[in-house]
């Protein structure tokens, strides 16, 4: 019982304190900083669409290049009458 009284008596000595008057300003600055650093869903969608388009365009260009390159090579070989195999000697 005595210990209970002692605990309650001691804790009753803790009084309420006032926060700093500048705390609200600091909180609002923090909120502003958090809002500015947050990327919106729109921005994410826009960014990923752009990257996706870039990849597709690259693939198309690479594909068309490889097709036209092989055609050009075989045309050139025919015109020059060059051997396309690795055999050095005819059997």
């Amino acid at each position: 019982m005595e210990e209970n009284d002692h605990i309650e008596q001691t804790l009753s000595k803790i009084k309420a304190a006032e926060p700093s008057p500048f705390l609200l300003t600091r909180i609002e600055s923090k909120i502003q900083a958090v809002t500015n650093s947050t990327i919106s869903i729109k921005q994410v969608l826009l960014g990923s669409t752009f990257v996706g388009l870039l990849i597709i365009i690259n693939l198309i260009v690479l594909n068309s290049n490889s097709v036209s390159n092989s055609e050009q090579t075989s045309n050139l070989l025919e015109a020059l009458n060059m051997e396309t195999s690795n055999h050095l000697y005819y059997e």
Partner: protein
Amino acid sequence: MNELEEFRQIYADHSNMVYNLCLNYLHRMEDAEEATQDIFVKIHQNYARFRGDSNLKTWIYRITVSHCLDILKAKKRQKRFGFMQSLFGPKGEEALPIADFNHPGVKLEDKESVQIIMQYIDSLPDNQKTAIILKAINGLSMKEIAEIMNLSSKAVESLLSRAKQNLKSKLKE
């Protein structure tokens, strides 16, 4: 009332409560101010999602309690890490200095006795610690504490009783 005015009103109505609850958990003015800032940022971010299942005051109390307990857990982890470093690493200081009790609501002549009781309260399990802080220091009713902790009033009574038993046995040591 626009969003900013509404937020300022919430701050005006609840800042004292949040700040003092943080002080009672963290014991230092600087830590309590930092925590209060983070809590109000959380309130601002989540206010749109607040459905009104509980009243606003209860909701804010819950955010505050949860945030303070997270800070205390993080501090304990840092202390453990610092201790391990001192065992296996180069000799040096602890990762965290021993907390300086700096509660602006406590007079200088009462500081020592309050600090001792608060240290014992700190060593209680989270539930008991929260119950005793809300009851004995913040002066909330059983019903209010039960709402905040999402427990029945009986469960809160039991927590308080165990908390007091634990504190009594620590005082006797």
